[in-house]
């Protein structure tokens, strides 16, 4: 399966209009098999506690080893300033970029329980808005930061 994922990503379109999003396996192991080799960026989603941050760091190192142009953390389920600080301190210590901070939002697990897309179930949720801001970084339509 790893070779297939890698080849599918390689074969996906390269114009600014084309976006390919790979939801990877939960274990970091797949990264050492090169599943994300042809990605332009890898985002490691982390929660603001040590074990999660540490997994994110390991994944980031593997992705940097693959030579991905951009590797960053996305801090998810951040409840307060203290948690935000924990993430930014960890990132600074390990020289990692934080691409986005997504606040803890009860409406996300609520959408999951309803077996619905967050965008349909809670389009005005704070977390959805934060993901929208993150999306703009990868938009080829000129509203992002030009990385697309």
């Amino acid at each position: 399966m790893h070779a297939t994922v890698r080849s599918v990503i390689e074969a996906s379109g390269d114009t600014p209009k084309d976006i390919c999003i790979l939801d990877t396996e939960a274990s970091p192991e797949h990264l050492s098999r090169g599943t994300a080799q042809y990605a332009d960026a890898m985002l490691a989603v982390v929660e603001p506690y040590y074990k999660s941050l540490e997994t994110g760091r390991r994944m980031s190192l593997l992705a940097k080893d693959l030579g991905l142009p951009r590797v960053a953390l996305v801090a998810n389920k951040v409840r307060d300033e203290r948690e935000l600080e924990a993430v930014t301190e960890f990132a600074a210590k390990h020289d990692l970029e934080v691409a986005a901070v997504i606040p803890f939002d009860e409406r996300m697990p609520e959408a999951e329980r309803a077996e619905a897309a967050p965008l349909d179930h809670a389009p005005d949720a704070k977390a959805v808005a934060a993901i929208g801001e993150l999306a703009q970084q990868f938009s080829g339509n000129g509203r992002g930061n030009g990385r697309a």
Partner: protein
């Protein structure tokens, strides 16, 4: 832009992947969302009902061929998507690598 989203189970990576895909598709992009998890549930976060997943044929095992340049798909990605993907809300194309029926519970 080819974007890999990683993270521990429960980190919310799939909700973020699905929501990013939908928003970028609304923004006018051609979006292919690939569920590479051995326990696939990207469909739900994209807004594709579970019932529709049973229509999705398993990816063939002989999808790859070896060439002097390395391993490649033996058909175009478009052909793979025509026969093995689902079209979700906002026009997102979903490709599932491990078939739900062959994986753990959703």
């Amino acid at each position: 832009m080819k974007l890999a989203i990683a993270g521990k189970g429960g980190s919310g990576k799939t909700s973020i992947s699905g929501t990013l895909a939908r928003i970028l598709a609304r923004d006018g992009h051609n979006v292919i969302a690939i569920d590479g998890d051995s326990n696939p549930n990207l469909a739900l976060t994209l807004g594709i009902p579970a019932e529709r997943m049973s229509d999705l044929p398993t990816l063939p095992r002989d999808l790859l061929r070896r060439t002097p340049e390395g391993v490649q798909l033996n058909q175009t990605l478009e052909e793979v998507c025509d026969s093995h993907s689902l079209r979700g809300p906002d026009g997102v194309t979903l490709l599932v690598m491990a078939h739900p029926q062959h994986a753990g519970t959703g």
